[in-house]
């Protein structure tokens, strides 16, 4: 049967070219792996998140106020669209951890005295729920407990509203509210420094003088309800009670970060595979084009025997589809497995109570679609040639290649050896083919760059954030605004060398129809320790009367320098200011706004007040300043820059260890696939010539050198282009991050280019070894007896 014979030929061709087939399939497989992995992690995270949210009743609207009477809860519940209301007391308190120099910070959250909270319900994983009336019993967030080796039965020392309290841990808990527990302004969550402590409402009310009142409220809405009108109405109700602006789930920090990560996976899962599969299409294009060239006679023969053009084209199409299918299968399997491993990594990074991994079968369909699309792109040119080749012409041997003399011939004869000329002329004879091979190599290098540049970008962010923008050793915040003279008390602490006060006040910024909720920072005129930077990382002076916004915030408001931005202060007498936008600051993390401290205090009509200071501390002072800060009742939180840097570096190192190793491995596979295929195809084309060289007395190395020389030349040409492509690929990758939380600067350091070039050169070396081995196996006798 005709079809059977063609299929047998297909099978044998695949086997004969198995090395190249596998190399091409592996390139496709890397793209598919990333696709399946990213989609799998993304879908699994969504499923885990949604079920966690539902089981633990995660709220949809959040608001804080200074002190609102409990009866307001009824009015809030009556707002249209509100399904459930949970009032709470939320405060912060420093914790005295024996294993930390500086105090840790706890977010205190009230639990109802009876029953469980209707919303944002903690999930107790160890121990028990607190007993009603037991004022010192608490639930502690699990990660913090783990970082300090604490468990039910242990005790925790906290300073609650200036008073020392000894708290009894009865249970360890998680909450959908703190899946990603990051403090404002931090790059990453500090698990050992930031705790969540849940305790009885009565105990907190007594400590903060909030009997019959609340300062935090969370709402659940009717299904399908738009949160915006509820947020506005809630703001209206809370305004006179010191409301600092309600917001929907979208702005809830933990949710926003998680969402950004999921969205990042969504676009990463499309962008990276698309780049890789474009490379794969390229490689296939070269393989198929050259395979067809070597099979001209067979194509002509098949057509002469009466196979239709389409049957013959279908035969070669099936060859490509088989490669694509192999890539899709390997990639799907590897991607499914890696996705499972990555979901575990994420479930730990984000604090999820359980792990669930599911692969939507649709993802395999998508994978197959991607693989086939890449294959189809790769074979289009070759198939067009199969279709067009008339049988008679196909059966004649290809006409001998006509070479021309070129610039290389104008060089003195001794300068370029005949083998060098041979390499050059061969490239000159098939410039398109050479260009495609070089482009393929460049794309492979670009892929390495795009998978590694994140190291550079993160290192850059850490450097800018912690070496240039924030240079203080410590940042201390106070439980409430203090007279500015408190700075002198801090300056008097042993070892403190510099003090820089600031004030943070919740505001709503408005420009036209746009508005943003943010804490504005009042800074001294020429801050030295912590300062906004411009795009060249030079400090921006704080204007006396004007506003500095981070680039992202300015974009969100569509504000340009000179625009008058309305600043509604949500504290104290709630003044409304109109400030011109003086400058934009190039922050990478979050949204920030700055203004002069004096102007801010004037607007608030308060005598010079501050609610935090940055400090420089002499390391020689040892533990003393830290101990004094732990004992200071006014202190709400202390953050140490060194801890932030260390955490950032450690987290990056862990993430990079996993991701970079995997991605660099992938990139190496791609680079090897491209070069190996280039080498093998060239070998099949020039095998006869190489064998002739061997007969003439060339050693194996010299004969292989002719071929490797060509590849090496193309590689050298390809490397700079690969750098450019890498930069472009990296740029495309940065687009997949949500700039609102995290702006990924496009930084590619020389070491990354060097590494990428190294991977490509290693792949070239490996391909050269393969060529050398093949040259050693060339049959020298056949070549003498066969016509070309």
């Amino acid at each position: 049967m005709a079809l059977g014979t063609l299929n047998r030929k297909l099978g044998r061709d695949l086997w004969r070219l198995r090395g190249q087939v596998l190399a091409a399939a592996l390139i496709i497989a890397t793209g598919i792996t990333l696709l399946v992995m990213a989609r799998g992690v993304m879908v699994s995270l969504e499923v885990i998140r949604d079920s966690y949210y539902e089981r633990n009743h995660f709220a949809q609207v959040f608001a804080s106020a200074k002190r609102a009477p409990e009866r307001l809860a009824r009015a809030i519940a009556d707002l249209p669209g509100v399904r459930q209301v949970e009032t709470r007391i939320v405060e912060a308190a420093p914790l005295d951890m024996p294993d930390l120099r500086e105090p840790a910070t706890a977010q205190l959250i009230s639990l109802p005295e009876r029953g469980r909270p209707g919303l944002n319900r903690p999930l107790v994983r160890h121990g028990r729920w607190i007993e009603p009336g037991q004022r010192d019993e608490i639930l502690l967030s699990e990660k913090f407990a783990a970082a300090h080796g604490l468990g039910p039965g242990d005790r925790l020392r906290a300073t609650i509203n200036g008073r020392r309290r000894d708290l009894a841990i009865v249970g360890l808990a998680l909450s959908p509210e703190f899946i990603y527990a990051i403090a404002p302004g931090d790059l990453l969550p500090l698990e050992d420094h930031n705790a969540v402590v849940w305790m009885g409402r009565d105990a907190l009310a007594a400590a903060f003088d909030l009997d019959g009142a609340f300062n935090n409220v969370v709402l659940d809405l009717s299904p399908g309800m738009d949160p915006a009108p509820v947020v506005r109405a809630l703001d209206g109700l809370l305004a006179r009670y010191g409301g600092i602006g309600a917001y929907g789930r979208k702005e809830q920090p933990s949710h926003a970060y998680l969402d950004a990560e999921i969205e990042g996976l969504r676009s990463f899962g499309l962008v990276s595979p698309a780049i890789i599969l474009a490379v794969a299409a390229f490689v296939l294009n070269v393989i198929i084009g050259r395979t067809i060239e070597t099979e001209r006679e067979q194509i002509g023969l098949m057509k002469a025997f009466g196979y239709s053009r389409w049957a013959v084209a279908g035969h070669y199409g099936a060859f490509v589809l088989a490669i694509a299918a192999l890539g899709a299968v390997i990639g799907s399997a590897l991607g499914a497995w890696l996705g499972w491993a990555m979901t575990g990594f994420y479930a730990d990074f984000f604090t999820f109570p359980y792990l669930y991994y599911d692969l939507d079968p649709a993802v395999f369909l998508l994978a197959a679609l991607f693989a086939v699309a890449s294959g189809a792109l790769g074979m289009a040119r070759g198939l067009a040639r199969v279709l067009a080749l008339p049988p008679a012409q196909a059966m004649r041997t290809a006409p001998p290649a006509v070479y021309r003399r070129g610039w290389v011939d104008r060089l003195p004869a001794g300068l370029v050896s005949p083998t060098g000329r041979k390499v050059k002329r061969h490239i000159g004879r098939w410039p398109v083919r050479a260009a495609l091979t070089a482009l393929g190599i460049a794309m492979a290098m670009g892929t390495v760059v795009s998978m590694r540049f994140m190291d550079d970008s993160m290192a850059f962010i850490i450097d800018v954030q912690y070496n240039r923008a924030q240079r203080q050793d410590l940042t201390v915040t106070f439980t409430r605004a203090q007279a500015a003279r408190v700075r002198h008390d801090l300056a008097a602490l042993p070892g403190v060398r510099a003090v820089e006060p600031f004030r943070m006040v919740p505001v709503r910024l408005r420009l036209g129809a746009r508005s943003e909720r943010i804490a504005i920072q009042g800074l001294v005129p020429r801050p030295v320790l912590s300062r906004p930077l411009d795009s060249r990382q030079a400090p921006i002076p704080v204007p006396e009367a004007g506003l500095t916004l981070s680039t992202i915030l300015a974009q969100k408001l569509d504000a340009h320098p000179g625009d008058a931005v309305i600043v509604e202060v949500l504290e104290g007498r709630r003044p409304v200011l109109r400030l011109p936008l003086a400058a934009t600051a190039d922050d990478y993390v979050g949204k920030s706004a700055y203004m002069g401290l004096a102007a801010l205090n004037r607007a608030l009509d308060e005598a010079a007040s501050i609610n935090g200071t940055h400090l420089m501390v002499d390391p020689a002072a040892g533990e003393t300043p830290y101990r004094r800060l732990k004992d200071a009742p006014l202190v709400r939180s202390v953050s140490r820059r060194a801890v932030n840097i260390e955490t950032a570096r450690k987290t990056m190192a862990e993430a990079m260890l996993v991701f970079s190793a995997v991605f660099t491995g992938f990139a190496a596979v791609i680079a090897f696939g491209v070069l190996y295929n280039g080498a093998r195809v060239a070998l099949s084309e020039q095998g006869r010539e190489l064998a002739s060289l061997r007969v003439l007395g060339f050693t194996r190395g010299e004969a292989a050198g002719v071929l490797v020389g060509e590849l090496a030349l193309l590689t050298v040409v390809a490397l700079p282009l690969g750098g450019v492509l890498g930069y472009l690929f990296a740029w495309a990758t940065t687009l997949s991050y949500d700039p609102e939380l995290f702006r990924v600067p496009l930084r590619v350091e020389p070491r990354t280019y060097v590494l990428a070039a190294g991977v490509v050169l290693a792949a070239l070396g490996a391909s050269a070894l393969v060529v050398r081995r093949r040259v050693a196996r060339l049959n020298l006798i056949d070549v003498l007896k066969t016509r070309e």
Binding site: V402, Y403, P418, T419, K422, R425, S692, V695, L784, R787
Partner: protein, 247 residues
């Protein structure tokens, strides 16, 4: 670039270039075994123009491949000027070919991307004491075609480039496997003239394989190969000039 010569010239005077003893070559095993050479014992004299004559499949190419260092015999020995070729490894055989042997193939085997001059230079670059590529091409009357690519040359011209390439290194031995096989007789005769001139002028021992008995007319010595055996070695009384040959 040269490699050290594994083959030392330690022959006494009038010693044959090649001394073959009991050469056999078997391809395959058992019932499928093909005996390409059977117990061949022969000597090849220094500087002679020998013609190895035989039908296709008689084993003459196998003999040449073994003498040329491209293949190993299954049994027996070949000594080239006192060195046992059968004892050399691949690297030493490569060096042997590089220093001592020139090849001319039936299908020329030129590099299509190199000009005539460059095809010759390809070999002179790696030979220890080569002649200038131009001189080699002049020996085969191709001074005027030196900068042409193979595709721009006729078959006869291509074969003469191949001869120039083979002789440019001043080889001790020149092997020509059916050098006229792909050419018409007029062109073939020009190629044979070139070979004869090279043999005379350079003194290179020349072994020419052919199935064309007419060509034996120009030989110093004729080796007839039949069914894997050297059936007969004759030294013709008269040596004809190639121009006098006709086929």
């Amino acid at each position: 670039m040269t490699t050290s010569a594994p083959v030392q010239d330690n022959r006494p005077a009038a010693e044959p270039v090649y001394r073959c003893r009991g050469l056999s070559k078997v391809y395959g095993q058992g019932e499928a075994a093909v005996h390409a050479l059977r117990d061949v014992t022969m000597d090849v004299g220094d500087g002679e123009l020998g013609v190895i004559l035989g039908a296709s499949g008689s084993g003459k190419s196998t003999l040449l491949n073994i003498l040329g260092g491209l293949d190993h015999p299954t049994a027996g020995t070949v000594h080239f000027r006192g060195t046992d070729l059968t004892a050399l490894d691949d690297g030493d055989l490569t060096a042997y070919r590089r220093r001592h042997v020139g090849f001319v193939f039936q299908f020329y085997n030129l590099m299509p991307s190199l000009t005539a001059r460059e095809n010759v230079a390809l070999v002179t670059d790696i030979a220890p004491d080569p002649m200038a590529p131009e001189d080699a091409l002049a020996l085969v009357d191709l001074e005027g075609r030196m900068d042409h690519f193979p595709a721009q040359l006729s078959g006869g011209e291509q074969q003469r480039v191949a001869i120039a390439r083979a002789i440019a290194k001043r080889p001790d031995v020149l092997f020509c496997d059916e050098p006229t096989g792909a050419l018409d007789s007029r062109t073939g005769i020009r190629v044979l003239e070139a070979l004869q001139r090279v043999n005379k002028d350079l003194g290179a021992t020349t072994l020419l394989i052919t199935h064309n008995a007419v060509i034996a007319g120009m030989a110093d010595r004729v080796y007839r190969v039949v069914d894997g055996r050297v059936d007969q070695v004759t030294e013709p009384d008269v040596r004809h000039a190639p121009a006098d040959l006709d086929w």
